[in-house]
C-alpha cells in the first residue's frame, strides 16, 4: 500500500515547509508481539515472548547492533547482579550471554553477608553481542531491520508500527528504544544527534510520542573517552585480578568453560588532573547550559566530581578491558563532556596514562524519557492499549534494569494475548518488583539505578536465592522447561533433607566462636541451635562434605537471617490486605479533616493507586493512612446511599 507521510523542512532562509511524501509500504504478516529495539530490554522482551510460545518480531535500526553494550562492558555489581539472577531464575538471556562473554568475575562485599554480596562480570563487548545474537538466532524471533517512524493506532489501541520500509502489524507492541529518543551528544561545544556514538537517533518516533501528549522529560548521562590499552602503562597501576575459582553468573545454563580471564586495573586522578579540569570546566557541555537533562547523582562527570568534592585529592579510575585481544580499555570514573583537547590533556596527566591515545572521546548524551508514572506495573501504557514501554525509555539506566523491564513487558504482553492474569512482582519478592514499583509510583528525578538500599526487604532478596523466589512462577508462565523445574525441586528436597538430618541431628557441646576461642556449653545442642547464636563461627562448627558445601552455606545464611526475616514477613503479612485496597483516581483528599496539607499535596501529586502505594510516599504517616482508609469507606457509603 501507499502511505502519505509529512516531513517538516526548514530552508536556509528559515522558511518552513511541509513536504508530503507518498511512498510504497509493504504490509507484513501480523505478529503476536512486536518489540521495537534490540538492546537489553528489547532482547529480553522478545526472548520471553518466544519462550512462552508466541510469535515475535524484533524491529531494530541495525541488525549488527543487537545486544550492544553501549556503556561500560560489565554486567552485575551491587543491586544489579541481584536483578540478573532473578532474570536467570526466569530463564532469561542476559545471564547466559554474560557467561558466554565474561572475562573477569568478582564477588563484591565478600566481607558482608549473603544478601548484599554481588557478582560483577566484565564482559568482552564483542563476545557479549555475539552471544546475544547467537541465542536469538536459535529462536523463532523474526528480526526486521528498519527505523520505526510511527505507530499504527486504532482508537486507543496500538496495532503495530510503521517503519521506513514496512508496516508491521502486531497484537501487542513493546517499545524499548533506550536513549535513542531525540538523542543528542555533546563534546565540548560540538553537538551531534544520535543515541550512541555511531548510531542514529529516532527523532520521528519521539515526535510522534510528543504528539500523543505523553508526559516526557529529558535526562543525560555521560561516557568517558576510550583509550588504547597499548598506550597505557598498567605496571604503574594497581592490578585487580578476577576471583578464583571463577564463579558463574547463570545458575542454570553455562558454557563448558570460561573465556580467558583478564585483570582490571585501578589508577587515580591527581592534583594536576584536577587543575586542568577546574581551569576548563566552563568549556564542558554540562556547564555550558546547553544540556537541560538531569544527570544521575551516582554517576557524576569528572568535572562534577572535581568541582563538588574540592578536598578530595584523587578520584579512583577503574580500568576495564574491552575484550580479549582488544587494544582498548574503558576508564570507568572519568565520564566527561569537555572539549577533545582538554580530555586528552587531563587523561595524560593520570598515572600510567602519560602516552594515552584516545580512540573515541567522551561525550554527554541527552535523551527523552517517558514519565513512567503513565505506565502500569505490567509496563503497559495507561493511555494506549497494547502498548508497552520498557528500558531506558522509562528513565532507568543500566543494562540490568533495562533487561528486567523487557522481561516483565514481554511476559505481560504475552499473558494479555493469552488472556492470563497480569504478572506483577512485589517489592518483597524481587528487586525487579522494587524497580517497577518505584518507577510506576514515584516516577524519577534522575536516571534510576538499582541499589540494595532501595529494597526495604533486602534480607529476603539475595542473589543466591532468586530461584527459590521465582523459579516456580517462571515455570507457571511457561518461561522455563519442566526439566529445570524438576531439577530445582530435587535440589530443594536435598536441602530440606540436609537441614533435618544433619543440622538438627548433629549435636555438640563445644564450639569455636568468632574470636576463635573455644566455648563449652552445659548441654548438647544441635547445629541448628548453635548457628542461631551470633557468636558461633560457622566455618569452624561443621566441616561439610563436598556435596554438602552449598547446602551448609545456604543454611548458615538462612539461620543467621531468620529472626530478621520473620520480623519482616510479619510486617508484610500485616499490611498486605490493607495495602491492596484500591484508591479511585478521582479520590478527594482535600475533604479529609486532620490530614496535613503537605500530605494532601503529595497525595494529589502522586495519585497512589492503592493504600500500599500511598504508604510508600514520603511524608505520608501511618495516621494519614488510617484517615484515608476511613474516608475511602465513607466515599463508598455515600455512593451507595446516593
Amino acid at each position: 500500500m501507499y502511505l502519505l507521510t509529512e516531513l517538516d523542512f526548514t530552508n536556509k532562509n528559515n522558511k518552513k515547509y511541509i513536504i508530503y511524501i507518498l511512498k510504497y509500504i509493504n504490509i507484513m504478516n501480523e505478529y503476536d508481539v512486536i518489540v521495537v529495539g534490540g538492546g537489553h530490554a528489547g532482547l529480553e522482551a522478545a526472548y520471553a515472548v518466544d519462550r512462552i510460545g508466541l510469535s515475535c518480531a524484533l524491529v531494530t535500526l541495525r541488525k549488527q547492533s543487537i545486544g550492544q553494550m553501549s556503556c561500560n562492558p560489565a554486567i552485575g555489581g551491587l543491586g544489579k547482579s541481584h536483578i540478573v539472577r532473578e532474570i536467570d531464575a526466569m530463564g532469561g538471556l542476559m545471564p547466559i550471554a554474560t557467561d558466554m562473554s565474561g572475562i573477569q568475575y568478582r564477588t563484591l562485599n565478600t566481607r558482608k553477608g549473603d544478601a548484599v554480596q554481588a557478582l560483577r562480570v566484565q564482559c568482552d563487548r564483542k563476545l557479549y553481542k555475539q552471544a546475544a545474537q547467537k541465542i536469538i538466532k536459535k529462536t523463532n524471533i523474526e528480526i526486521i531491520e528498519g527505523e520505526v517512524e510511527d505507530l499504527v493506532v486504532e482508537g486507543k489501541k496500538v496495532k503495530g508500527v510503521v517503519t521506513d520500509k514496512n508496516i508491521v502489524k502486531g497484537k501487542r507492541t513493546i517499545l524499548t528504544t533506550g536513549t535513542f529518543l531525540n538523542g543528542r551528544m555533546y563534546t565540548g561545544e560540538e553537538i551531534e544527534t544520535g543515541g550512541r556514538s555511531g548510531d542514529l537517533s529516532s527523532i520521528p518516533l519521539s515526535k510522534k510520542l510528543y504528539q500523543l501528549d505523553i508526559p516526557m522529560g529529558r535526562l543525560k548521562t555521560g561516557t568517558p573517552p576510550r583509550i588504547k590499552l597499548s598506550s597505557i602503562n598498567i605496571n604503574l597501576m594497581e592490578e585487580q585480578p578476577g576471583e578464583r575459582p571463577t564463579p558463574w553468573m547463570s545458575l542454570n545454563e553455562r558454557p563448558k568453560k570460561h573465556q580467558k580471564q583478564l585483570s582490571c586495573f585501578i589508577t587515580r586522578t591527581n592534583k594536576t588532573t584536577h587543575e586542568i579540569i577546574k581551569k576548563n570546566t566552563h568549556l564542558s557541555a554540562m556547564y555550558s547550559g546547553n544540556i537541560v537533562g538531569i544527570g544521575p547523582r551516582y554517576c557524576p562527570s569528572i568535572e562534577d566530581k572535581v568541582n563538588r568534592f574540592k578536598n578530595k585529592e584523587g578520584h579512583q579510575i577503574f580500568i576495564e578491558p574491552e575484550g580479549i585481544n582488544k587494544d582498548l580499555i574503558y576508564p570507568n570514573g572519568v565520564s566527561t563532556s569537555l572539549p577533545k583537547d582538554i580530555q586528552l590533556e587531563f587523561i595524560q596527566s593520570i598515572r600510567g596514562m602519560r602516552n594515552a591515545i584516545i580512540t573515541e572521546y567522551g561525550y554527554a548524551v541527552e535523551y527523552d524519557f517517558i514519565d513512567p508514572r503513565i505506565i502500569k506495573p505490567t509496563l503497559e501504557a495507561k493511555f494506549l492499549q497494547g502498548f508497552y514501554l520498557a528500558g531506558q525509555i522509562n528513565g532507568t539506566t543500566g543494562y540490568e534494569e533495562a533487561a528486567a523491564q523487557g522481561l516483565i513487558a514481554g511476559i505481560n504482553a504475552a499473558n494479555s494475548i493469552k488472556k492470563k492474569d497480569e504478572f506483577i512482582l512485589e517489592r518483597d519478592e524481587a528487586y525487579i518488583g522494587v524497580l517497577i514499583n518505584d518507577l510506576t509510583n514515584h516516577g524519577i528525578t534522575e536516571p534510576y539505578r538499582m541499589f540494595t538500599s532501595r529494597a526495604e526487604h533486602r534480607l529476603l532478596l539475595s542473589q543466591n536465592n532468586a530461584e527459590q523466589r521465582l523459579l516456580l512462577k517462571a515455570h507457571n508462565l511457561g518461561l522455563i522447561s519442566s526439566k529445570r523445574k524438576e531439577e530445582f525441586l530435587l535440589k530443594e528436597k536435598k536441602y530440606k533433607k540436609f537441614f533435618n538430618s544433619i543440622l538438627k541431628k548433629t549435636k555438640t557441646k563445644t564450639f569455636i566462636d568468632n574470636k576463635n576461642k573455644t566455648k563449652h556449653l552445659k548441654e548438647n545442642k544441635n547445629l541448628y541451635q548453635l548457628l542461631s547464636r551470633p557468636d558461633v563461627n560457622p566455618n569452624r562448627l561443621y566441616k561439610p562434605k563436598k556435596h554438602e558445601k552449598s547446602l551448609y552455606d545456604r543454611s548458615v545464611v538462612e539461620i543467621k537471617y531468620k529472626g530478621y526475616i520473620e520480623k519482616q514477613l510479619r510486617e508484610i503479612k500485616k499490611t498486605k490486605k490493607q495495602n491492596n485496597k484500591k484508591i479511585p483516581t478521582s479520590f478527594d483528599y482535600s475533604s479529609i479533616e486532620g490530614l496535613s496539607n503537605e500530605a494532601k499535596e503529595k497525595l494529589y501529586q502522586y495519585k497512589p493507586r492503592t493504600i500500599g502505594d500511598a504508604n510508600i510516599i514520603e511524608g505520608i504517616t501511618p495516621a494519614a493512612i488510617n484517615l484515608i482508609l476511613i474516608y475511602l469507606k465513607k466515599a463508598e457509603l455515600l455512593e451507595q446511599n446516593a
Binding site: 553477608g113 587515580r268 570514573g333 534480607l459 551470633p534 557468636d535 486532620g594 476511613i630 457509603l637
Partner: protein, 437 residues
C-alpha cells in the same frame, strides 16, 4: 479481619467485667471456650468458660451474629466476675484460641468499616482514631512539648547519619572510598545513649499520674517471680502487658488501697558470660533507672550480695526482703520484711511498706517531656534496635544486619518525624561521598 477482644470495663477490681470479642471466626474460638455447649443468638446464657488450665469462671454470654452486631461482624460479649485473676485468665484463654487484643478504637473502626454507624458518627470516629495527624500533636504543639520536637528530629537525624555511612559501605564498597572506621562503634554508642537519656527525660501520662513503678530484683532463684505473682494475687499480667516483649521484663499492675502500682519482674542478676543472659541483665539495669522503688528479694542474708543490689538501685528507694521463710529461718534483723511467696505469710506487711514508701516519697523525678505511652514504647523499641546494632558491630556480625537494626531504629521515629526514604538516604550518601565510577 482477625478476631479481636477487649475489656470493655476498666481494668480494675469490680463486681463485674465485660469482654467484647469480634471478628469472623470468633464462634469457633467461643466453642472451644465453652466446650461446645449450645447457645442461641441474641439470648442471655450463663456458661462455664474453660482455659488451658481448666474452669475459669461461670459467666454471662450473649452472642451476636453479623451483620446484626455493633461491629457488623460475628461477635459475643462475656459478663464475668470482676476479679483481676478472672480477667487475667480470660485474657489468657482468649489468646489461647487465637484472639488478638484490640487496639484503641478498633471496635468502632470495625463498626464504621462495616457500615454500622452513620456518617455523622463516622466523623467522630475520625476524631477518635486520630483527631489530628500524630505529627501535629507531637510536633506542632510546641507550647506543650517544648523542645520535644527538636530533640526527636535530632535523634532521628543522628540515626540517619549512621545509616548513610553503613549503607554507603554496603552499596558502594567498590568505589574506593572509606566510609567509616572504628569510630562508628563509638558514634553508635553516643546515639544510643542520647536516645536513652531522652527517654529518661520522658514520662507518659499514665505513669505520671497513676502508676508507681516497683521493680523486683535479686539473685537468681531468690523467688522474685513468686513474690511478683503473690503480690498481684494472680499469675502474671492482664491487659496492661507491656509491648516490647523482647525484653525479659514482665510487668503488671497492682491495685492496693486505691493505689495503682506497676510491678516489674526482672531477670536474675549474676555474673555471667552467657550472651543471652547478659542482654536480660542490661534490660534490668535500664529498668532500674525508670523505677521509683526497687525491691530486693533474697533467700538469706549475705551482706556483699545485698550491698551489690543496693548500689544498683542508686538513688532509688531500696526495700530489702527475705523470701522463702517457709523453708529458711527468718532473719528479721537484717531485712525490712520477711515473707513466704509460697504461703503468703508477711505479704500484708510488705504491701504496707510499699504504700508507705510512695507516700513519703518526697523527691520526685524531674521529667522534661510528657509523652503518650505508645510513644514511650516506640522510643524503647528504638533503643532495643540500637543496642542490637551495637552488639552486632561488637560481634562483627555482617554489616547488613547492623544496617537492618539501624533501619528498624529509625523507623520508630517514622510516624513522628516522617519516614526516611531510601531515595533521600541515597541522596545524602551522594552528597557526603564522591560516588560514581
Amino acid at each position: 479481619m482477625s478476631v479481636v477482644f477487649a475489656l470493655a470495663t476498666p481494668p480494675a477490681k469490680s463486681a463485674i467485667c465485660v469482654f467484647r470479642v469480634s471478628g469472623p471466626g470468633c464462634f469457633r474460638g467461643l466453642s472451644k471456650l465453652i466446650k461446645g455447649s449450645k447457645y442461641t443468638i441474641g439470648n442471655f446464657h450463663v456458661k462455664s468458660f474453660f482455659g488451658a488450665t481448666g474452669l475459669i469462671d461461670k459467666a454471662g454470654l450473649v452472642v451476636f451474629s453479623g451483620p446484626n452486631s455493633y461491629t457488623g461482624e460475628d461477635s459475643f460479649e462475656v459478663y464475668a466476675h470482676g476479679g483481676l485473676a478472672v480477667m487475667s485468665s480470660f485474657v489468657k484463654a482468649f489468646k489461647g484460641v487465637g484472639f488478638e487484643e484490640a487496639v484503641g478504637g478498633e471496635f468502632t473502626k470495625r463498626a464504621f468499616l462495616n457500615n454500622k454507624i452513620s456518617l455523622h458518627e463516622a466523623e467522630a470516629v475520625v476524631d477518635l482514631i486520630d483527631a489530628v495527624d500524630e505529627k501535629e500533636v507531637m510536633l506542632a504543639g510546641r507550647s506543650l512539648f517544648g523542645g520535644l520536637s527538636r530533640d526527636i528530629v535530632e535523634l532521628a537525624e543522628s540515626i540517619d547519619l549512621l545509616r548513610v555511612r553503613v549503607e554507603a559501605e554496603i552499596d558502594f564498597s567498590d568505589e574506593g572510598n572509606e566510609y567509616f572506621d572504628e569510630s562508628l562503634v563509638d558514634d553508635l554508642l553516643i546515639v544510643k545513649n542520647n536516645v536513652v537519656s531522652f527517654i529518661n527525660g520522658c514520662v507518659n501520662k499514665k505513669n505520671r499520674f497513676q502508676k508507681n513503678n516497683i521493680l523486683l530484683v535479686g539473685p537468681v532463684n531468690s523467688g522474685k517471680s513468686s513474690v511478683f505473682n503473690r503480690l498481684l494475687g494472680f499469675e502474671r499480667a492482664i491487659v496492661s502487658d507491656m509491648p516490647g516483649t523482647t525484653r525479659d521484663i514482665i510487668s503488671s499492675e497492682l491495685f492496693y488501697e486505691s493505689n495503682t502500682f506497676s510491678v516489674f519482674d526482672s531477670a536474675g542478676l549474676r555474673n555471667t558470660k552467657d550472651f543471652v543472659e547478659e542482654a536480660g541483665i542490661k534490660n534490668t539495669l535500664n529498668e532500674i533507672k525508670n523505677t521509683d522503688l526497687v525491691v530486693g528479694v533474697f533467700e538469706c542474708y549475705k551482706k556483699s550480695v545485698i550491698d551489690e543490689f543496693k548500689n544498683l538501685a542508686e538513688e532509688n528507694k531500696f526495700v530489702c526482703i527475705q523470701n522463702k521463710i517457709d523453708v529458711n529461718a527468718k532473719e528479721e534483723d537484717f531485712f525490712d520484711c520477711c515473707v513466704s511467696a509460697k504461703t503468703g505469710e508477711g505479704f500484708d506487711i510488705l504491701k504496707e511498706i510499699i504504700v508507705n514508701c510512695f507516700d513519703s516519697k518526697a523527691d520526685k523525678k524531674k521529667y522534661n517531656y510528657l509523652v503518650r505511652e505508645r510513644h514511650e514504647n516506640i522510643f524503647k523499641g528504638v533503643v532495643f534496635s540500637l543496642s542490637s546494632a551495637c552488639e552486632g558491630l561488637d560481634q562483627s556480625t555482617s554489616l547488613e544486619l547492623v544496617a537492618e537494626d539501624l533501619k528498624n531504629a529509625r523507623s520508630g521515629f517514622d510516624e513522628l518525624v516522617g519516614k526516611k526514604f531510601s531515595d533521600s538516604l541515597l541522596g545524602d550518601i551522594f552528597k557526603s561521598y564522591c560516588i560514581g565510577k
